[in-house]
């Protein structure tokens, strides 16, 4: 029995190539009946297309690639962009993928859910047999260990998620928090969506064009408020997201000081994602105010990315132990299977 993996990922192929190999509804059946795999699991995400398989004989990469072709597509030179991992390397590759070490954003956790989904689909269709079952179950365990024992998932790596993580670190629960968006541009929208996703229910949008504020408010489930009343709303809110196109700061110490007078026990988190900045830098010196501009958010995201990269070695170490263990099990399971097959064969006389 051979264990192998054939696939394409963001490391080896561009999106145009990857989208030609997204598979089809009959992929599980085709991989077994046409390609000749004894067991097969098809994993597809926006960054990778992979087949993990167990087969009695060696199956050429071209044959697997052919099975993955989307309807109407034909196999060309792209087959050279496919990678192939056999036996122990295949095990190591899956463990790295499931743990997020092979992802575009290192440490991302979505891949584990996608791997679980792929496994469940193969299990339901009968394509996952004892070898892949054991391999994937182990991969899920490894991924969990890598996450809990290293800092690989620690810290957000995009400006929006850094801002939301910081807000969470200040306020904890978002359900009772009030948010005011100053400016209704794309950056505001992204941050607003991230905040709503984490549980913000009171979201106010203020923009020079009231129609635009209304449009964004409708999209994110907030309410539009006139631009000339933003200061009144600022008294009530916990988070202020600013991204207007104003050429000079619109939020200054002088404007903010009277608004903060009645809120001594409530911090104000200001996210200034405008360029040029909407909030004067010295606002950060005010008691209870935490100001983060685009540069500081980007710098934190960058640091998190560096920290995640530094954790790769620790993740690899955990994976190496599991690869050895699994390989040991695989060799003995294969030997048992072959011995059983020999016993079943009629004796020669």
């Amino acid at each position: 029995m051979h264990l192998f993996c054939v696939g394409l990922s963001h490391h080896t192929a561009n999106v145009e190539t990857r989208e030609r190999f997204v598979g089809h509804a009959e992929i599980d059946r085709v991989l077994r009946e046409t390609a000749g795999c004894a067991e097969a699991i098809f994993l597809t995400t926006c960054n990778r297309v992979e087949v993990y398989a167990a087969a009695e004989d060696t199956i050429p990469t071209e044959r697997i690639a052919h099975c993955l072709l989307a309807a109407g597509a034909s196999l060309g030179e792209e087959v050279e962009t496919f990678y192939r991992h056999e036996a122990q390397q295949c095990v190591q590759h899956l463990f790295r993928v499931a743990s997020g070490l092979d992802s575009m954003v290192i440490g991302e956790t979505e891949i584990l859910g996608q791997a679980k989904k792929a496994y469940a689909a193969a299990r339901d269709s009968g394509a996952a047999g004892p070898f892949l079952h054991r391999l994937f179950q182990r991969a899920f365990r490894v991924a969990k260990q890598v996450r809990t024992r290293t800092e690989i998932t620690r810290g957000a790596v995009s400006v929006g998620s850094v801002a939301v993580d910081l807000a969470e670190q200040i306020f904890g629960n978002f359900e009772t928090r009030k948010v005011l968006l100053l400016g209704a541009g794309e950056a505001s929208e992204r941050t607003a969506r991230a905040l709503v996703k984490r549980g913000v229910t009171d979201l106010r949008v203020s923009n020079r064009s009231f129609e635009r504020a209304e449009a964004l408010a409708a999209q994110v489930g907030g309410r539009a408020v006139p631009m000339d009343s933003w200061e009144t709303h600022c008294r009530e809110v916990d988070i202020l997201v600013s991204s207007t196109a104003a050429p000079t700061p619109i939020v200054t110490r002088e404007i903010l000081a009277p608004l903060l007078h009645d809120r001594v026990n409530r911090p104000l988190f200001i996210i200034d994602i405008a360029v040029p900045r909407d909030v004067a830098p010295d606002v950060n010196e005010m008691e209870g105010v935490f100001l983060y501009d685009i540069d500081s958010l980007q710098s934190i995201a960058q640091k998190s990315l560096v920290q995640r990269r530094q954790q790769i070695a620790a993740g690899e170490e955990i994976i190496a132990g599991h690869v050895d263990e699994f390989s040991g099990w695989f060799i003995s399971a294969r030997a048992r299977r072959e011995a059983a097959a020999l016993e079943l064969r009629p004796s020669e006389s």
Binding site: T150, E151, R154, I170, F171, G172, E287, G288
Partner: protein, 263 residues
Amino acid sequence: MDRELLIVSTLCFFVAMVRTVIAIRGGAYRPAGFNFLAIALGFAFQTGFLYLRGQELGRCPITNLFEVFIFLAWSVSLIYLLIGPAYRLSLMGAFTAPLVFGLQTCALLAPIDVRRPLRSTPTPWLELHASVSLIAYGAFALACVAGLMYLVQERQLKRRELNSMFYHFPPLTDLFAAITRLVWLGFFLLTIGLAAGFFTGQPLPYVKVAWSFGVWIFYAAILLARHLGTTAPRRIAALCVIAFSGALTLLWGITFLSQTRSL
């Protein structure tokens, strides 16, 4: 035997402290069950020590400065173990362990475990007064620890220098709520302890009374400032650190003096 128990207990807190320091310096701090376990184990040995000492003395073991420090360290551990998990203050263990370790090490190293004939016979009111007052100090110690955590986190947020510990802090607003609750708990217990002191049937030591009321008034002022909203949370946190540090120093002074002369 009892001192051996205390040494083992101190080692437990030392291990928890060293592990945290190494993790923080390595840039990979994660709150783990290990710290909680080490503190719980340290607490068990502290309890063993206090039990044996209590049996030996036939009264609550707070008869000299050494015992007072250990009882205070025990109160700190007790309140941490009770409220730490409930308020998601797992990181508090990282701050609690050094405090308890410091208290116990000072107590063990300093020549303060001196047995002198006791002037007063134990009465239930006296025992209640002394033990509840010290447990109140345990709550104030934890408020001080939470205050320290608040100041560290606030500083990191203001300076935008977030280290590996940052994301393990409880949210800033939750931490402030925990400070408030701990000060209230300590204040409530101290009030009971002080009230019990008037029923001991013994002459009141004026310096101790004045000092106790000083501490009581200071914490009352902190609570007042907190609830009137006139003082920023950062200042409240700093006041909790100052108040406990001052009270601890005075506690040492008063207990030390009360052993040598009648106060």
